[in-house]
């Protein structure tokens, strides 16, 4: 079999963990848009005393990288404090997946953005931050620019 994806990616793609919409999430992030082909929603349940992520789930519209990264991100974030979860990078996610095709790096970036945006949503609701930037197509394109070269990949 000659898939460009690692075993781990394919496993998470086939059987993604922590999927589905959450009722009454404490924090919720939606990144990307159908327009650019990637969209990730992340839902959080947070313990208000410890600020630990007690439950997390995602929904994904996108390619295999997108789905697998969202899946691994929820695994990585579960049980971490918001501060620690914020520090999860797309590189770590990619490593945990045994690598991602360079040209698809933006898909994992987007999943990480989804998590961060859900955390930001929680923090805003709880008066912890104010700054926000809505993610429209323009913002995604800008973010993706540095990771997307259609011919060579990264």
């Amino acid at each position: 079999m000659t898939f460009p994806y690692s075993k781990e990616v394919l496993e998470h793609f086939r059987n993604p963990h922590n999927v589905g919409k959450m009722d009454d999430p404490d924090g919720k992030g939606l990144e990307g848009s159908a327009a650019c082909g990637d969209m990730v929603a992340v839902y959080l349940k947070v313990n208000p005393d410890t600020l630990i992520i007690e439950d997390i789930s995602f929904e994904s519209y996108g390619c295999a990288s997108n789905i697998a990264t969202a899946s691994i991100i929820t695994e990585l974030a579960k049980g971490k404090t918001l501060e620690d979860a914020k520090k999860i990078t797309w590189k770590e996610a990619a490593e945990a997946l045994g690598g991602l095709p360079p040209v698809k790096a933006h898909c994992s970036v987007l999943a990480v953005e989804g998590l961060r945006s859900a955390i930001r949503d929680y923090e805003e609701k709880h008066g912890m931050v104010v700054e926000d930037e809505p993610t429209d197509e323009e913002v995604v394109r800008r973010r993706l620019k540095h990771v997307m070269n259609p011919i060579k990949g990264l």
């Binding site: 079999m1 898939f3 394919l10 793609f13 086939r14 993604p16 999927v19 589905g20 919409k21 939606l30 159908a34 327009a35 650019c36 082909g37 969209m39 990730v40 929603a41 995602f58 929904e59 994904s60 519209y61 996108g62 390619c63 295999a64 997108n66 789905i67 040209v103 698809k104 997307m148 259609p150 011919i151």
Partner: protein
């Protein structure tokens, strides 16, 4: 990996037919000389006969004369030659205006864009939501400076077939030359240049179980066209380079092997997929025309899910199909065809193209429908998008 891949991407390329290879073999192993002039040696003269017989087959499949057929390396070359060759021949006369449709494949579209950068004026004609060309817009676009109109006969992705007769009549009346890219319609739908006044037609072998690397360009006698590849005097001094005679013979054989029954069978598989998918899976849109459609093409959007995810799942189950999703393509851009018929990115990303060929069966069509039902349901279960939004 699987016992057998169910290959439903025949629009991209097809499996060679064994009989085509058998027909090519004598030209690999026995009559392998270059086509010499009639004053060359016997083997070269026999090579030349093989070449000219093949030329006749291609010509008569189009209703043209053998001396109106130039062999090329494929559709891309044929279209480059047609467009660049005509524009350069008309340079200084009707020199600066080219008209193409928005749905052309890259061979025509990117040639047009490149010429636009070089200073040509190019108009891109719109299509309606089924992919049918806007004839009024075409009429209005033609000016005395128009050198060439290039409109495909049938679309590579959504399968919509144009009213080539109406288009040709418009061009004829306005006295402009017409090129049509008939890559997907050739032998599948009739196109008779003795009835329909198109001037140049692009065709290719590998979409009809012929060899890779061979195509042809029909050039109506008297059409102004410059030589496009410089070198020897081959192909009526219009296309230099040693003739690919085994390729030409293979192409001709591939043409001869297509039968009306086969085309009916393709249509039956196409209709099965369109009907069963629409009745058994919710939130599906047919892309392209329901009525004016290539017999071998079905294209459907499965809303709320993304094409690369579907194709990867299908691949792991042994099916090969393609999608208009950006994620699947080399350029990571969504299909210009689906966007061109007014679809949004979501419609492009969720589109799948099923294209049938000689080696497919009705069981293949049924098997992929069953697989799709499962895959689409699973992907929808994790999608943030749904009909409720």
């Amino acid at each position: 990996m699987f016992d057998k891949t169910v290959y439903l991407d025949n629009a991209a390329s097809t499996r060679l037919d064994e009989r085509v290879l058998e027909a090519m073999k004598p030209y690999f192993f026995d009559t392998y000389a270059v086509a010499t002039s009639e004053f060359g040696y016997s083997m070269g003269i026999e090579s030349k006969e093989g070449l000219e017989r093949s030329r006749k087959v291609i010509a008569s499949a189009l209703g043209g004369d053998a001396n109106e057929i130039v062999f090329t390396s494929g559709s891309t070359e044929s279209s480059n030659m047609a467009i660049k060759g005509v524009l350069s021949a008309l340079k200084g006369k009707k020199d600066d205006h080219l008209i193409v449709s928005r749905l052309e494949d890259f061979d025509v579209l990117n040639t047009a864009k490149m010429l636009e950068k070089q200073g040509y004026k190019v108009d891109f004609i719109d299509v309606d939501s089924e992919g049918v060309l806007d004839l009024e817009m075409l009429k209005a676009a033609i000016t005395p400076q128009t050198a060439l109109v290039s409109i495909q006969y049938a679309n590579q992705e959504i399968g919509t077939v144009q009213d080539i007769k109406a288009i040709a009549d418009i061009c004829k009346e306005k006295e402009v030359l017409l090129h049509t890219d008939a890559t997907h319609s050739f032998t599948r739908l009739p196109l008779d240049v003795s009835q329909i006044p198109v001037d140049l037609v692009t065709v290719s072998a590998h979409t009809i179980h012929g060899p890779r690397g061979v195509g042809a360009l029909y050039i109506r006698e008297g059409t102004p066209i410059n030589k496009w590849m410089d070198g020897g005097f081959q192909e009526f001094d219009l296309r230099a380079g040693i003739e690919n005679i085994p390729g030409a013979v293979g192409f001709a054989t591939a043409v001869e092997l297509v039968t009306p029954e086969e085309n009916e069978q393709l249509k039956a598989m196409r209709d099965r997929i369109i009907e069963r998918v629409q009745s058994e899976i919710s939130h599906v849109t047919l892309n392209g025309s329901a009525t004016s459609r290539l017999p071998q093409n079905a294209n459907l959007t499965f809303h709320y899910v993304e094409g690369e995810s579907i194709t990867l799942h299908l691949d792991m189950m042994g099916f090969a199909v393609s999608t208009g999703s950006a994620c699947f393509s080399r350029s990571l851009e969504a299909s210009h065809v689906i966007l061109g018929i007014g679809g949004d990115h979501e419609r492009a990303h969720g589109s799948l193209r099923f294209s049938f060929g000689r080696f497919n069966t009705m069981e293949d069509a049924d098997a992929i429908i069953d697989a799709l039902k499962e895959v689409v349901e699973n992907l929808r279960a994790i999608s943030p998008l749904s009909a409720d939004d």
